[in-house]
Subunit: 453 residues, 2 copies
Amino acid sequence: MNVARLFEPRSIAVVGASKTEGKIGHEAMANASSFDGPVYPVNPSADGSLFGEPFVASVGDVDDTVDLALCCVPAGVVPDVVAECGAAGVGGVVVYSGGFAEAGDEGAALQRRLVERAAAHDVAVLGPNTSGFVDPRRELYASFAGGVEQFRPGDVAIVAQSGGIAHQLAFGALREGRGVSAMVGLGNRANVGFEEVVAHFDADAGTDAIVLHVEGTDDGRALLETCRAAETPVVAYKVGREDVGAFAESHTGALTGDHALYTAGFHQYGVPTVESTTALFDAGTALAACPPPSGPNVGVVTAQAGPGIVVADLLQQRGATLPPLTDETRARVEAVLPGITYAGNPVDTGRPMPAFGDVVTAVAEDDHVDVVLVYELFEGALGFPTESLDGLADRVGKPVLFATEGPPDEMADDVAALREAGVPVFTTPERGAETAALLARYGEMTTEVSADV
Amino acid sequence: MNVARLFEPRSIAVVGASKTEGKIGHEAMANASSFDGPVYPVNPSADGSLFGEPFVASVGDVDDTVDLALCCVPAGVVPDVVAECGAAGVGGVVVYSGGFAEAGDEGAALQRRLVERAAAHDVAVLGPNTSGFVDPRRELYASFAGGVEQFRPGDVAIVAQSGGIAHQLAFGALREGRGVSAMVGLGNRANVGFEEVVAHFDADAGTDAIVLHVEGTDDGRALLETCRAAETPVVAYKVGREDVGAFAESHTGALTGDHALYTAGFHQYGVPTVESTTALFDAGTALAACPPPSGPNVGVVTAQAGPGIVVADLLQQRGATLPPLTDETRARVEAVLPGITYAGNPVDTGRPMPAFGDVVTAVAEDDHVDVVLVYELFEGALGFPTESLDGLADRVGKPVLFATEGPPDEMADDVAALREAGVPVFTTPERGAETAALLARYGEMTTEVSADV
């Protein structure tokens, strides 16, 4: 199924657009109206206009080619609306309503009708039972949720089986000052599934990493093949380690399957996995920003020992290796900081200091190190070693991650400058360590896959 | 060792106070000068005044009883300064410098001298090798770190072996709009250890939960006995699941010991444990705000299925039980929401809706449920069910937790109102689930301990 007109429309129709605030047909129209192209509210029983656009009675009456229709009508009439859209030449439809495959036999039959109508007219259907998608770079807000117009453009694409998770991830990114290239909630995957969406954003020049939330899919192999074929790094979070089957099936009509099988499959196909939504987006942020790691060895530099120990502990729990540094690196570090607190790995400087950036550089240049993780509590008088870190990752060809904490307002500009310099910045030692460990696993995988060839 | 004058001083001296910005003697004086009581800068070689206070040559020259001295001098002279403080009648000293037990045989000998001098004069010594402590309720900032004057007063006391972790936790709380009753970094624990500090804040009327960060201690039993004796709930994070021994010993001179033994010990003594700094403070927040749970059964209400599944999955991974709801509760929920998306446990309403608070109330009143966890993405048109949740936890005698995400600025007032109503609010489904699982373990423990009696 071709999804180009769905995700990159030049024109939008909102079918079931409504003047009543709080209704999905109103909220979807409100969001869509930010789009820098024609947006047509469609409703046979409404007069006048909505957000400055005159109502049209049906999609067929729009005097334009409609690429994308946002379908805000009750489940029962969705198949007919999709057929109507198809007849009118619409390329993609987002179906928000629930009551399909997730809702018993009757719903499943309704979804089959929907799929047949879509197939007859070659219409790509996102959903049903989704809160939609957003592409902030295009000011394209095909979601009915409030506040999505605040999402910032970024380079990580969120592809979530659950619309709720898609929004949770994107709002979490917003809260932390990060952006997304796109956010997609798949819902019941009538005829647009993981494969279509991953392939689309793999080909998208502005997407540098894809993060997947997976509850379950009938065609796991197709998903895995698509991920392996992608040139863009993909990371996956498969829920359902414990039994959540009945609840999950009621959600998007999918069985969750065997968690261990999924995880093994992802790893075999070169896709690292994580175990939380937070780790998922953090991993995407790091994969998008950094050169790919070429092995599992993490070098840690910390300005405070306590968080450094937390980091070292968690890295090892997650299977990362903390190699001894080379003699040359140790000599460099000790030349910079005679009597340094701890010059193993982690290197601990005890406090932030002007030479901190030199220490990080020495560790980043160490041949034993594939991934660099820095932890430093912010001290206003010194700021961060942004100058040393700017361009360092690209120069050494390794990811360089930074985790920190401090007075939020005082440090905001310094955090922004670090990010501007291409360094992913995390709060809490654990998030830094989880992400470094993910990169270490990815580095190990990539090396193994290359070795196989 | 009595720590009352250390933590509740009426007067402060900063020994080694300095006019040079960036020096610890300057930063400590800058922070201390917020104190609403006399603060004396002490330095025999300085003239004039600092932050409006005239320099004094020695602590003995201060024409007042000094309760607390902040010791900002190099390690080598610390024992003499402590003796001098003791002779002058000082009750407590914070020693910031490192170079003691964490730094080899010579440092260990220096620390023994320090302890002897302190014992001779009955002086409580926090540190050495700590960044100090803060009590925002007293505007008492006995730390040299910048920005600590922004910490908000709250009801959770942070007691961390590492000053870096203490500050990381407190700055993290600040970033998320939460407060602390006090933040203490123990460092090398010359003669003020976990026992003294836990006992002190247990007796503190404004502290409703104590969170412990533990690297290792020689007297684990004393710590456990103190925790068991505390009426205030205590939760612990023991680092060192993996081998971080050499690095940790270089930090505060303590061996990390056997992680499994510590964990088993804590559980035996009624102290639930967590595995991250984030989970630690989240647990403290919940324990401080909520009535104690009386069992391990969690009832979950979610307005979006995706995050609900994540919650159900993680709760089970962490050993919590999701019991079936009573027939009465199911009937109540279905009366409120005919054709509800999923009325097992979790109860899933599919979207936020006006009746959401009624559903939460029904689950909270269910006899099978000991802990309630709610997840709801924010929708501006509806806000949160604050009215239903206000007083609910106290009325049903169970913790009620709330996790959410949404447009940060739009939801800020609603989050504040929920917290004002006594409901702990978390971001991400995982943090909600981790905290609910902690409460479930605590509920199970408490029940077992009661059953033993």
